[in-house]
Structure formats: C-alpha cells, structure tokens
C-alpha cells in the first residue's frame, strides 16, 4: 500500500463530550474531491450536530487535500489505494460508522463492502450509480498538480460496480434532488441488501450537506439500537 495514500486525521471531537460507549463507535467523516474536512464537515454544521448528539467523530483530509500529503503520481490516488488508506485509519480507530460525501461517499461504500468488519453503518451521499463525472472538470475548484493527479488516478481506476454495493450492513444514501451526479441513486440502493435513500428537495451537489433535516435523519440513523 502506498503510504502517501493514507488520509491524515485532521480533527477530532473533544474528549469527555461524549456520553461514553453507549453513544456508539466514532464517526469517520470522509470529504469529497477538491474539498477538505473543515469546509465539508465544520461549516456545514455536521461536527457541531455530532457534538450536540454526544457522538465522537474523526475527520480526515484525503491525500492531495487539506493538511494531507500531496503526491503528484496518479497511482497514489487509485480507488483501491485510497480505500486501503482509509481502511488503515478505520482499523486504527475502528470499528467506525462511516459518513462520506461525493468521492468520500464512494470510498466509504467501497471500504465497507471490501472490509465489512471495519464499518458498523454507512451514510453516503452525493453519488449515483454511474461513475462520477470528469472530476477535473468540476467547476470552481482550483486544480494544482496533486488534484490533477487525484482526478486522473480516480478516473483511471477499474470500476467494479459490484464493489460499490457489496456492503450488507445498514446503509443510508442521500442526495439533493437537483444534483445530476446522484442519477441512479435509487438503483444503487436497490442493489444493496439494507439501504434506504433520502432526497433533499431544492438542493444541488454543493448545497445538500448543510440541510438540517439531513443531519437529523443521519444522526438518528446512526443512533438506531
């Protein structure tokens, strides 16, 4: 496994804020392409909501993003390498509840599918049944050498659709109704053993995560007995 493919733990919940083990395993938060842990999970209010619900959480920065290493070899960003890197973190901290968005959502599903022992539940959004669009072309994100390599690495990875839906545990999929990337999300859910879908009205790819109804629903889902 390529060391540079391991994500960095960028932030954690304050200790003692949680009400002990009864509150469930730590939540591993995985952001999407071109973003980082802070703008995906902090400014959207997710970390505050998890704190309020007494859940421990860990937020990573994926390679090439935020505080993580910035390799420029596309091979470091191959899907299976990113999944293996994420697995290393989950093994260290795990088992975990996985919460991922966009590229992070795909990584979460693939990790849970490949190594079910590391994940208790998965919440994944901003994805669809078709392979994600030309990552490099996603508007508004300044692309440096690392991000270009990341886009290329993910794009060229062999995409085994079955690996995306292999996880048999409780899964919550979500997306905005105005998000074209989420085409076929229902098909994805049907292909999974125990998945349900939440659609957020009037939301597109970049305005879905902060929806308060989504947070309430996801935290309740993660807290189910």
């Amino acid at each position: 496994m390529i060391a540079a493919s391991i994500p960095v733990i960028a932030a954690r919940s304050a200790p003692g804020a949680q009400s002990g083990d009864a509150a469930g395993p730590p939540v591993l938060l995985v952001h999407g392409f071109g973003s980082d842990h802070a703008s995906t999970w902090a400014s959207s209010g997710w970390t505050a909501a998890l704190d309020a619900a007494g859940r421990r959480w860990i937020a990573v920065d994926l390679p090439g993003h935020g505080t993580a290493a910035r390799p420029t070899d596309p091979a470091a960003y191959a899907l299976e390498e990113l999944v293996a890197g994420l697995a290393a973190v989950a093994r260290e901290e795990g088992p975990v509840d996985l919460v991922g968005y966009s590229l992070g959502g795909e990584l979460a599903l693939r990790l849970a599918g490949a190594q079910p022992g590391l994940a208790r539940r998965v919440v994944a959004g901003g994805i669809g049944s078709h392979p994600p669009p030309e990552l490099g072309a996603v508007a508004g994100i300044p692309l440096d050498a690392a991000l270009l390599a990341c886009a290329e690495g993910v794009q060229q990875s062999p995409r085994d659709p079955a690996a995306l839906t292999a996880f048999s545990g409780r899964t919550l999929l979500f997306a905005g109704t105005e998000d074209p990337i989420a085409d076929g999300l229902d098909v994805l859910a049907d292909a999974m053993e125990d998945a349900e879908v939440v659609w957020l009205g009037r939301r597109h790819h970049r305005s879905t995560l902060s929806a308060s109804t989504l947070k309430r629903r996801a935290i309740a889902f993660l807290a189910e007995g």
């Binding site: 304050a14 200790p15 003692g16 002990g20």
Partner: protein, 339 residues
C-alpha cells in the same frame, strides 16, 4: 528579559497527570456554567482556556511549604492545590465568600474579587517566611487587568527591595471584561516591567502546561534559595465570558475566539500524549470516567451545602467579640425574630 523555548518533554507520566488536572478543571468549569444556567448557582466566572496557566503554575508549588494567593478565576490552580470542588462551588451558591476550606491548612488564600490587593498579602507572607528562615515561596495570581492596580506595582517594588520569595504569576488572558490587553497594559508586557524593579521577568506560552510548570518551578526554586522574586507573564486567553452574566459578543468577534479555540491547551496536551503514549486512549477513558464520578458527587453534594445562620456569620466578625457588640447583635437578632 528572556523568552525560553519549551524545555525537553519531561516524563510523560507528569504530562498525563497535568492533563488529567486540566480535564478535571474544564469539566467542573463547564458543569458550573450549566448549573448556573439551570439556576443552581447564582453566578460563575469561567476559567475556560486558562487551564494550562493555572494547573502548570500550581503544580510547581508544594502546598505543604509554599502559599498561593488566587483571585476569583483560579479554579484550576485551587483544584491542583487540593481544594475540593464543593468548597469551590460554595461561593457560587451564595453560601460563602472565600470558599468553604481552611486557608491556613490548605496554604491557599480565600477566593477574592478585588483584584491586585492580594499581591501585597503574598509579599507580607513571603517576608514572614524569610524572617523565619523558611525555604518557602508565595505565589500570587493576577491578570492583565489587575496589573493596572497600584497595589501590584507596590508589591513588586517591595518584593525587590526586601528580596522576598515571591512569584508574580500574571495570566495575560486577553480581556478584562470588555477591555483588551492592548488597552490595559502600557508598553505591552507585564514581565518587561520587572526590570524596572530589578527583578527577572519571563514571558511564557500560557497554553503550554509544561512550559508554565517549568518556568514557575525555576522561579519557585530561585525564591526558596534566597534568589528573590520573579515576574512570569503567561499568555493565554479567556475563551469564555467574564462571568455567566457577561456577553462577550458585545465586544469581541467569533473569529478571535475561534483562533484561540484552535490553540486549546488541553487539546495540545492530548495530542502530545497521543504521540508519546501507546495506551493513551485507555488513560483518557480512565480520566473521563473519574471525572464523571466526581461531577456526580459534586451535583449530589451541592444540595447538601448548608448556608450559615446569621448568628454564625456574625460570630466570624471578631476573634474576641466585645460585649457591647454581642449585646447589640443579640438585640438586632431579636428584632428579626419579633419582626
């Protein structure tokens, strides 16, 4: 006036106990704020964010030998010096002013809200220790706000002239209610003033618990060996309000608070411990468990704290109450019974 880099990390077990004391302080501090919101406490001055400056400095003292002089915000220092949580909560139930503990036994002066004056008490105590030939040191706490009081300047000068074993521990926490440090401390540094009195002055990162502990330990050692007084300026930040009835949003913005929140002294110590202890998580779990038990005890004990009767409070006024006063008090109490 020297700025000393943080010393080589001492034994990790020391850092772990300092971390535990800081977590304990933060937990009790947050519980007190919640209790005030629920009406169980009349008011509370949080020390959120200042745990390292308080725990680190207090840990350098030997309460059996030295004497500490707190103000009203030194929850962390007083816990570290062995004062019980309930003793420290009593004033905020309106049941005691100085705290329900024996100052003489604890070698800790009562809680005090008129800042600055106790610096001179530390000078007096230190003079007594010197006269008695004790190898002991007085440590007085004050903030950037209190550094403007004349008494603090007089205390530093007396300590210099009489070469007294005193540590002036200034927690420069950024704010005196709504007045920022730059509108409070002329010249920008309290430690720099020490040179004016011929004393050594030292600035230290108040959010680095080991740096504070080591700087204080050096000053305490210097004092005990007859080397005289030291002024330590620990830069930290009052993350919370002045007191539970203060609203900081009136005078400072979230951006500044968030910047300091990201430099939380407890997070820093926790990450250091994660780096040097492989079973860190187990220790953290144990510490949180002990804190939970202690908070349960505090909540339970709070209701059992008894208010003094007026008669008891009256007796405190004199060591030997004059007969005329006793008679007048009795008559006054009788009116309360008749009326």
């Amino acid at each position: 006036m020297s700025t000393i880099e943080s010393p080589p990390v001492t034994a990790t077990s020391e850092l772990l106990s300092l971390y535990a004391q800081m977590r304990r302080t933060r937990a009790l501090n947050d519980e007190a704020i919640a209790l005030q919101r629920q009406g169980a406490l009349t008011g509370f001055p949080p020390c959120t964010g200042q745990e390292a400056a308080q725990v680190g400095s207090a840990a350098a003292l030997d309460p059996a030998v030295d004497f500490a002089f707190p103000t009203y915000r030194e929850l962390g220092a007083m816990l570290t010096l062995g004062i019980t949580p309930l003793a420290l909560m009593a004033p905020h139930r309106g049941l005691s002013f100085g705290g329900a503990f024996d100052a003489r036994e604890a070698h800790v002066a009562p809680i005090n809200a008129v800042v600055g004056g106790t610096a001179l008490h530390a000078v007096g105590w230190a003079m007594g220790a010197k006269l008695d030939g004790e190898e002991a040191c007085a440590l007085t706490y004050f903030g950037d706000g209190a550094s403007s009081q004349g008494e603090v300047h007089e205390a530093m000068n007396f300590a210099a002239i009489f070469e007294l074993p005193v540590v002036f521990l200034c927690q420069s926490n950024g704010w005196a209610i709504s007045t920022p440090t730059e509108r409070q401390v002329g010249g920008g540094s309290v430690a720099a003033r020490a040179a004016g009195y011929g004393l050594p002055g030292e600035q230290v990162d108040g959010n680095d618990v080991l740096a504070v502990r080591d700087a204080t330990a050096r000053a305490v050692h210097r004092a005990r060996c007859g080397g005289g007084a030291t002024v330590i300026e620990a830069f930290t930040y009052r993350l919370g309000p002045h007191s539970t009835s203060d609203d900081p949003s009136r005078y400072r913005d979230r951006a500044e608070e968030e910047a300091w929140e990201s430099r939380d002294p407890i997070d820093r110590a926790r990450e250091q411990l994660r780096g040097s202890l492989d079973d860190a998580e187990d220790h953290f779990a144990r510490i949180e468990h002990e804190i939970t038990l202690e908070l349960d005890a505090v909540r339970a004990g709070l209701g059992l704290l008894q208010a003094p009767t007026m008669r008891e409070q009256m007796e405190l006024a004199y060591a030997r109450m004059p007969a005329a006063t006793r008679a007048a008090n009795a008559a006054w109490l009788q009116d309360g019974i008749d009326g």
